[in-house]
């Protein structure tokens, strides 16, 4: 009975200190997998793993960075499995959706362009840009999540930001000429 009580308290603590990362993990999953259902599945998967190691979590300096690292690893594993080939069709659907003018209007045209151009970046650039410009992680945290060194991170980030800028400027000029 006492044991059960202690367990419930840990569940409550887990909910307030660990499950609160869910949106961040989900956005990272979505970024890497381009599939809402699978991203949600990955997040649950990561939380189950964290739950099973809940006694050791105190050893980690940042459980958030750990959770992000695990999410990244699970996503990359899933990208490697053969059944992903089937799901790639789903991904291109999503890309088309993003380029769909109606949806673009809803999201705000330029936001859609950004989403689109990020999606076209190489995976490492996408990952670094997502962690920095969407989630605002410190470079040290990005290093621990991605396993890249600081210099490599800066180079990737710079390339990604410039690529997005290029798309935006092109679109702006096109819109300007169109008027």
């Amino acid at each position: 009975m006492l044991n059960r009580l202690a367990l419930e308290m840990t569940a409550e603590e887990f909910k307030h200190s660990i499950l609160v990362f869910k949106q961040k993990l989900y956005r990272l999953g979505l970024r890497l997998l381009n599939d809402e259902e699978e991203a949600a599945d990955v997040v649950q998967d990561v939380f189950v793993k964290l739950w099973n190691m809940r006694e050791q979590l105190i050893q980690y300096r940042s459980v958030e960075a750990l959770a992000m690292t695990m999410t990244r690893n699970v996503c990359l594993d899933r990208l490697k499995t053969p059944h992903r080939m089937v799901r790639l069709g789903h991904q291109s659907d999503l890309q088309q959706e993003a380029s769909n003018p109606e949806l673009a209007y809803e999201l705000g045209e330029t936001t859609a362009i950004i989403a689109d151009s990020i999606r076209l970046l190489p995976q490492q650039q996408q990952l670094v840009m997502h962690l920095r410009d969407v989630e605002h992680f410190e470079f040290e945290e990005i290093a621990s999540i991605t396993g890249m060194n600081l210099n490599h991170i800066r180079v990737n980030l710079s390339r990604a930001r410039k690529a997005v800028r290029e798309r935006l400027v092109k679109h702006h000029n096109y819109a300007y000429q169109g008027n």
């Binding site: 990020i118 969407v134 410039k162 800028r165």
Partner: protein
């Protein structure tokens, strides 16, 4: 903020060298200030929630589903360990039964002395002997009867001896 300062920060930004604070400053500037036309195209890149609000997990529903899943995991784990314990118990019982039967089959058969008191042992032996002798006497009765009729038969058979007397008689003759 001076436009020169913004341009300097932008250059740092595109080289991947700005700090988080500097990036926050840029976002703030693009959100509030009158933006000169040559920088207007960049505004979207400094939107405060770059693609963030697009998709979200349902907060409470997710937590509930998660703890249900955990409960389920732990229940199946418990059921599994209970089953394992039952199997272990059955295995233990079976191996004990086998060992016991092997022991009973092959144990050395020694005749054990059941009496500690010599007097008592003597009495017991005597009792056993008496029992045997009484049975023996009883068993001797039919034997006696048998020998009696045998002797009777033998007496009659002794008449044959008379034949030799006759034979002797004729020899003498």
């Amino acid at each position: 903020m001076h436009i020169r300062e913004i341009e300097r920060l932008l250059e740092k930004f595109y080289n991947g060298e700005t700090s988080l604070q500097e990036e926050a400053m840029l976002r703030e500037w693009f959100a509030s200030a009158e933006i000169p036309s040559h920088l207007a195209s960049l505004k979207a890149q400094f939107a405060p929630d770059l693609e963030k609000s697009k998709a979200e997990l349902p907060d409470e529903a997710f937590d509930e589903a998660f703890f249900q899943l955990i409960d389920q995991h732990e229940k199946t784990h418990k059921a599994y360990s209970l089953r394992k314990m039952i199997y272990a118990g059955l295995g233990l019982a079976a191996s004990l039964a086998i060992m016991l039967s092997i022991y009973l089959e092959f144990k050395p058969r020694t005749i054990e002395d059941t009496f500690n008191d010599p007097a008592l042992a003597y009495e017991e032996v005597q009792r056993a002997m008496l029992f045997v002798s009484s049975k023996l006497n009883k068993g001797m009765e039919p034997v006696k009867q048998g020998t009696a009729s045998f002797n009777a038969g033998m007496e009659k058979a002794s008449d044959f001896n008379k034949m030799s007397l006759i034979k002797n008689y004729f020899k003498i003759e």
